[in-house]
Amino acid sequence: MTARVGVVTFPGSLDDGDAARAVRIAGAEPVRLWHGDPELHGVDAVVLPGGFSYGDYLRCGAIARFAPVMETIVDAARGGLPVLGICNGFQILCEAHLLPGALTRNQHLHFRNRDQILRIESVGTAWTNAFQPGQEVLIPVKNGEGCYVADPATLDQLEAEGRVVARYVGGNPNGSQRDIAAITSSAGNVVGIMPHPEHAVEALTGPSLDGLGFFTSVLKHLVGAPA
């Protein structure tokens, strides 16, 4: 049976199309979910895509968190549903308190758009089990508010529990504390990542195929997961 992976569209989402395409290339069936519909339509996992939901008004992700679909996703994520938040999706996961910390304005104030090397540090999550520990991957980064911040106790806890999923290598594009590019929940089913794995799934359009690993990981995870 093909896994069904939901991709949410909020008003202002940009990368929902690419995320759905990455899901398809990885071998799963993408299911488009709508922000105003609380129903998850039986999906096995959810991707919150990049973009500027609700125009980034107030704070990035602050208003999307209250969308009807998010209330269902927050409950389902607490019950173990794999959820990947990319860029704006990461911001939404922090605002929804599924992940600790917050994403703030890039320290240099510039929007940063480039191909970025990341080191995958945690391969125990639902979204990174296809990688080797310490593997370096090349994935586009494009954000204006990607600077990850949390208090030192939270950062220490994330590191102690192996919840830093990926770090920037060869230059930190936004000033994120401890070069953090991606983190996970304590259960490992929720991952937030600032760079865009969905843009690195095909030779024609991406700098590598490294992003595909995030999507094939969740398929592996679902096969191993009890039904």
């Binding site: 910390g101 917050a102 703030t104 000033g175």
Partner: protein, 87 residues
């Protein structure tokens, strides 16, 4: 009708690059005696009935501010003190 004003500021330990950029521009105006600038957000709330500070605090805590990175204060002001009032 009095309004509730919510002031949201980044916590002191959170870097404020916007404030720094403004501070760095001041010498070009000939201003050399400003040590630092921090930028926040002011939100005015008008209730349909009596202004309710506790309710405003709840709104600020859950939506207007992100307590991970921001502090907020709430206070009552008379309508003619608010930013929208015309003299």
């Amino acid at each position: 009708m009095p309004r509730v004003v919510v002031d949201v500021m980044l916590k002191p330990e959170i870097l404020d690059p916007q404030g720094q950029a403004v501070a760095n521009a001041l010498p070009r105006l000939g201003v050399s005696d400003v040590a630092s600038v921090r930028i926040g957000r002011r939100i005015e709330i008008e209730f349909t009935g009596e202004p309710d500070l506790d309710r405003a605090r709840e709104i600020a805590d859950q939506l207007l501010a992100n307590p991970v990175i921001e502090d907020f204060t709430v206070r009552l002001v008379e309508a003619d003190e608010t930013a929208g009032a015309r003299p």
